[in-house]
Symmetry: C2
């Protein structure tokens, strides 16, 4: 069975404890699934007490046996009642209240916070430690980068499968379903964690033609019509035809670690504006690969990228076609969650460091015509950015075979794919 | 495009306003996606102000145009800054602070609550209204029941497809992936909403053989080995063989409305204990269909069902094989979320009413042998329960054809399915 290595867990705990000391927090009590997985190697119904110094205390209500199998932390202590929690905390801290405790106030529901604050730790002061832990998680170890590389292999399997399924007469939704199955068979866990309230990510945005420019509530440059107001984004039932550009934006999960990738495909020749937009996106990626070095400030990179785009064609469509639908970020950190630090976004002050990872997605949304732009998951290195993604970045033109023009959604000759200019 | 009917929205708002009046809450400010969809018919980045009396105020940051397309509420008011919110609230309420405001404190993150409490509505008192809205949502309209029936059609498509894919040599995960694609092609949105912190639902639990009895952190009678400690539940890579019982527990989504179903399959003869367990589960369903009438108290139904099981064979395996892994509920409400009211669970005081819906899942978890038991989504009627599910409830025995015994995971003759005794 796959296990998070013992040294990983040890290093993470040390880094988190240093952050606790620095912020004068006596102990953290960790509850959320992602954070538990990061600090223990397992997702259980558990509380992890991390004192600013000394050994952590891993309290598991359920499932103790699986926690022992999956986590290197010892001992795994069965917790039968929440009433036992304060005693464990006193022992782990070597002190009694009042103390400053950290909990994940950025994700813990308000009513759950009240319960801990009033009933469980009434004499301690509880402060947010979710943001602090996200800052620790922001710097990926070599092992984590390797996990993210493996996730990129899944994305590549999806991108390679597109020409097999993309043909005239197939709908966005049908294409999306086929690609989901490819991703699952390639190891995608089927589920990607998010942190932000109300943020919902399913597999991705597989969008085509002019309707691809449909904006949505999602805090993403692309939205898409979706198939239901219950979801409000993503693929619709639009049938893909000749001349459409198809944007394949997918999120996949390898043992918790994510890869986010967008590639552009076209059924024969796409609109010239979208071919231009694709090329501009590539140029901006090339610029950022050089510019985003350790020490660069994310908010300044954002401003410079906007200036770059503003001085070139199609700038009015960059990251949204209207003020109301334009998003104010170009990249979002990712790792175990879709929305990690850092964000390359307006006003951000984070300075890049080696080991940070983010998905950069400069895109053009052109009403009445469609969308274009690619997305890579990058790692910050001393020499600039390294893309973890493996798929070719060119616009892939899929030729419809002579028989498939009337073949509809379920049949037809296999399509041939080639990058333009070959 | 699908729309939630105008009368639905109007009736829901009236019911919610009556609850606000009853609890002396001056206005509710609704933020969460599920609740917004319920009360407006659309999921947007929005605030819905519902005063105890008078017209609601639908404030949308993004996407205003789609909100207008999908929601019958007028006007849709663009919200450009959160600073405008207090003025809108004053106008909607016809009063100024201090007031009692309701927000969804059961889902709103603590830090988000602090923001509203300290910066946006500093003079008002904020109380939880999530629980109140869940109580309103607990009673489904005829239209909602119809949506849930359509979700059950998707579940039935999945159950019907099982004999096509279930054969010796296929793994749980492979079977699960095939069934996911069937569900998606039948209309499943691919995503099911939950309310409880840390509760994670993907498509379902497709579990087989003795390992199906693997418990997990999930608050569900079945857990499953899963394929990664990052997820910690669900199908594993176990290869299904002759004599295995296969439990197919799926959650599907039709325009936001869910159906939860479990059906049992076997590759030739399953272990006698599991055939018995399946039969016992059916008998308990038959008992509950009669017992669960309007006026029955959920906690008492729970106690009676446990007594029923305790007086019959295999009682030590009912709803879990050990104290630590045994769950303390038999049914969970569902509708727009997986974890709605009511719960048929220990100590619950909710009295059943017509229009309630819940998934009842009496299951037996037998270590070293496997799991059995079926699950239906029920509606409470004046005459007892009506199952919304369409799939046959018998244990379906799939015969492996003479050629398929050695065919492995990717080939082999189509299997034939028959209920036992035919």
């Amino acid at each position: 069975m796959f296990q998070v290595p013992k040294e990983e867990i040890a290093n993470r705990l040390v880094a988190f404890q240093a952050a606790l000391v620095q912020h004068r927090i006596d102990a953290a009590v960790i509850r959320q699934n992602t954070d538990l997985y990061y600090l223990t190697g397992t997702v259980q119904d558990a509380h992890l007490i991390v004192p600013a110094s000394g050994s952590p205390c891993f309290l598991v209500r359920r499932d103790v046996r699986r926690a022992e199998e999956q986590s290197p932390i010892r001992p795994v202590v069965p917790l039968t009642s929440i009433k036992e929690l304060p005693d464990h905390l006193d022992r782990a801290c070597g002190s009694r209240p009042p103390r400053t405790l950290g909990m994940e106030l950025d994700v813990l529901p308000a009513s759950t916070f009240f319960f801990y604050d009033e009933k469980v730790f009434p004499k301690d002061r509880i402060v947010d430690v979710g943001t602090l832990l996200r800052q620790v998680r922001m710097i990926k170890s070599d092992w984590e980068i390797e996990m993210m590389r493996r996730a990129a292999v899944i994305s590549d399997a999806v991108a390679r499968a597109v020409p097999e399924f993309l043909r005239e007469g197939v709908s966005e939704l049908e294409l999306c379903i086929e690609l989901e199955a490819v991703a699952r068979k390639a190891g995608h866990l089927g589920f990607s964690r998010v942190r932000t309230f109300n943020l919902e990510i399913y597999f991705g945005h597989i969008l085509s033609g002019p309707e691809a420019a449909t904006s949505s509530y999602a805090d993403s440059p692309t939205g898409g019509p979706g198939v239901s107001p219950a979801l409000g984004q993503g693929s619709g039932t639009r049938v893909i035809g000749r001349g459409d550009l198809v944007s394949v934006d997918t999120m996949v999960n390898h043992h918790g670690y994510l890869n986010d990738q967008t590639r552009n495909f076209a059924l024969e020749a796409p609109p010239a504006e979208l071919a231009d937009a694709h090329r501009l996106s590539l140029e901006l990626h090339a610029w950022l690969r050089e510019a985003a070095r350790p020490g660069a400030v994310t908010g300044e990179l954002y401003r410079e990228a906007l200036e770059w785009a503003a001085s070139r064609p199609l700038s009015q469509y960059f990251m949204g076609s209207e003020d109301a639908s334009r998003v104010s970020f170009l990249a979002h950190g990712l790792g175990l969650e879709v929305d990690e630090f850092p964000f390359i976004a307006r006003g951000q002050k984070t300075m890049l460091r080696e080991g940070m990872t983010f998905a950069f997605e400069p895109k053009y949304i052109i009403p009445g015509i469609g969308i274009a732009g690619i997305e890579n998951t990058y790692r910050v290195t001393a020499r600039g950015l390294e893309s973890l993604n493996l798929s070719g970045e060119q616009l892939v033109v899929v030729q419809t075979g002579p028989a498939s023009g009337r073949s509809g959604a379920t049949g037809g000759q296999r399509s041939a794919a080639r990058p333009p200019g070959e």
